[in-house]
């Protein structure tokens, strides 16, 4: 009997030797005359276990990990295809607590299917949402998204329904849907996992968005640092066109939607939506002043829906299960689930999709198992490079946009980066300024010059020059950036800097932080 064995094709698995593991399994099986079928699946998101090899049995799928190429021989020696004893054995995949305790709606298929198999996708609930949406008129589709309470997952948490309604109500012969797949925040990888691991879901979500606003053309703007995600999406788009899920006369409905891809070119600021539009138009990624809103004058000056990958990838489940089903998860104004990314110095790093409202501490301690180094946790950066550095006493905050704002933080794209007690927070603050200096689009002075001055001031503080006076200068500089920047690049860089200063003054050669006079 043929035994099916799964080896993930996600970039994290590849970066840890998954191709070599897959190759070794095949060779070993041939040499031992064992009949196997090797499937390259997506990742379950338990990244500390990658490369996670799964064996399918009548009792379900069983896990071995992390498997290195040199472990393969011993797996066969242990007769792992019949679930033989092995130190890397983790039992039934579905019973692993890390997975079992999650509420996977957007990541429902993660690790289960072959990303490029549209048959798998449909078999596991794919394209039900689109079928449903095709029976609705545009207003009803927009109402459904509004009902679901979905807010953008790209950082600004803007209600998706309001955005779609604005585009629907804008009269124009040509409208666009643009998917923001620039995922530049350190500590985030959920967009990448969707593009590599479940590309048809994203394509389906974008198609529903197009139906909602009567757009006939769409673009996915993928960062150049994600070559595997780009290739995966490209292949999936071709398949979707072949099978009439994209292009002219979608599933016989008479509707047309063409989806194009664009590759970014290494500028973080092009994740800002208007800079992204400039970039797609073939220009430098300079942020546009608003108004006009992109929903009214966006790509090529036409009304444009712009949404993050996770926002759009969540649309299909809302249309297959219903708006109320989705809205019943979550807390306060943050409805539904959040794909949290546990990153940095954490023992069990990976993807945790769970309803809004879980505390940061539960995520880091219960799911993450604390630091990987085993040392004490010192700082946690939430929400990417523009997010605050929180300290241990702040970890009881709930994952919810408003709750995080109250402690001076921001949710961003849901990335959580853990640092142990070897971190130097003055160096981290300096890095935030350096990053802003490198990535500023240059349009406004507070950001462009402020960041350069910020690096100098941090250098002075680190070398112990005039620390009190330089700290006041740093605060002053930060308030100019906060107030005078056109976008969040300059406007939020002060968050990590000031939070590092406030929560960790001892790293700035200070006993206490001086008050501005």
């Amino acid at each position: 009997m043929t035994v099916r064995i799964y080896v993930p094709i996600d970039s994290v698995a590849l970066s840890l030797g998954a191709d070599e593991v897959a190759g070794a399994i095949q060779i070993e099986a041939i040499q031992r005359g064992i009949d196997i079928q090797l499937v390259r699946n997506s990742s379950r998101g338990m990244l500390w276990l990658e490369t996670l090899v799964e064996v399918e049995t009548e009792q379900g799928r069983f896990a071995y990990g992390p498997v290195n190429p040199q472990d393969v021989k011993s797996l066969f020696d242990a007769d792992f295809i019949r679930l033989g004893e092995h130190p890397l054995f983790h039992g039934a995949v579905d019973e692993i607590p890390y997975l079992k305790r999650q509420q996977r709606l957007t990541f429902a298929r993660a690790g289960i299917t072959d990303p490029q198999s549209i048959t798998d996708y449909v078999q596991y609930g794919g394209y039900v949402g689109l079928q449903n949406a095709l029976t609705m008129d545009a207003e009803t589709i927009v109402d459904c998204i509004t009902q679901s309470g979905l807010r953008g997952r790209g950082g600004a948490a803007f209600p998706t329904g309001i955005k779609w309604k604005t585009v629907l109500d804008s009269e124009s012969e040509q409208k666009y849907v643009v998917c923001n797949a620039d995922e530049g925040d350190s500590g985030t990888f959920s967009d990448r996992m969707i593009m590599e691991g479940d590309p048809f879901m994203l394509i389906e979500g974008i198609t529903i968005a197009a139906l909602a606003v009567n757009a006939t053309e769409g673009y996915i703007y993928v960062r150049s640092e994600y070559p595997h995600a780009y290739a995966s999406l490209k292949q999936a788009i071709n398949t979707a066109v072949d099978k009439a899920y994209l292009g002219e006369n979608i599933l016989g409905s008479g509707k047309t939607f063409n989806l194009n891809m664009r590759k970014a070119a290494g500028a973080y600021v092009c994740g800002e939506e208007t800079a992204m539009l400039e970039s797609i138009e073939g220009k430098r990624g300079i942020v546009r002043a608003k108004p006009p809103l992109p929903a009214i004058q966006g790509l090529f000056a036409k009304p444009t829906v712009i949404n993050n990958v996770i926002s759009l990838a969540t649309v299909p489940v809302i249309f297959s299960q219903g708006a109320d089903f989705y809205r019943d998860y979550g807390m306060g104004r943050s409805r539904g689930t959040l794909p949290v990314q546990l990153a940095g110095n954490i023992r069990h790093g990976g993807l945790v999709e769970i309803a809004f409202g879980i505390t940061l501490r539960e995520l880091i301690e219960d799911f993450g198992g604390n630091t990987e180094s085993g040392r004490a946790l010192r700082a946690v950066q939430v929400g990417g490079p523009l997010g605050a550095y929180l300290c241990d006493s702040q970890l009881d905050v709930r994952m919810d946009c408003e709750a995080l704002q109250q402690v001076g933080g921001s949710l961003g794209h849901g990335g959580i980066v853990v640092f142990d007690d070897t971190v130097d927070m003055a160096q981290q603050a300096k890095f935030s300024m350096q990053f802003c200096e490198i990535e500023s689009c240059g349009k406004c002075t507070p950001c462009r010059l402020g960041a350069t001055r910020g690096v100098e001031v941090m250098d002075n503080i680190i070398s112990g020059h005039n620390v009190q006076q330089q700290t006041l200068l740093l605060k002053d500089l930060c308030s100019t950036m906060l107030d005078g920047s056109l976008c969040a690049m300059g406007g939020m860089t002060p968050f990590p800097v000031l939070s590092a200063l406030k929560n960790f003054p001892e790293d700035f050669n200070l006993k206490s932080v001086p008050e501005a006079g």
Partner: protein, 155 residues
Amino acid sequence: MLKKDFDNAAILPLITEFEGVPGALLPILHRIQETLGYIPQQAVGCVAEFLNLSRAEVHGVISFYQHFRQHACGKHILEVCKAEACQSRGGRELDAHVREQLKCDFNETTTDGKITLEAVYCLGLCATGPSIAIDGKPYSRVNEQRFKQLLEQMS
């Protein structure tokens, strides 16, 4: 390092395949760089003419984006992640180690022309860093020993 010259005959076919594509400048520049390894000076004029832009505009776009190279690069591109999540897992130490081993800094090429070193701000491998990419292929959990092995495998 190799000093290559390209004539328009090598560049033009890379450009003309984008006839009619809206906002074609970035796709064209990617195509040129994927084929030639960088965007040679001669290409700027060809691209400008094809898209009805000034040379200054094309040049402005190339220089805005960190991904685009204006000079020939080494045989391999080594990207090292310098972003926060990798920093928390030893990325700063790896960064220093790599520069010391290669005896070159970021945006430079080793004297034997083998490796061009570039900084990257996140490869999306943030739970298993420090992360690098060699010619676009990702590697994570890169410590000094793993880096040594990878270096030896590069021909």
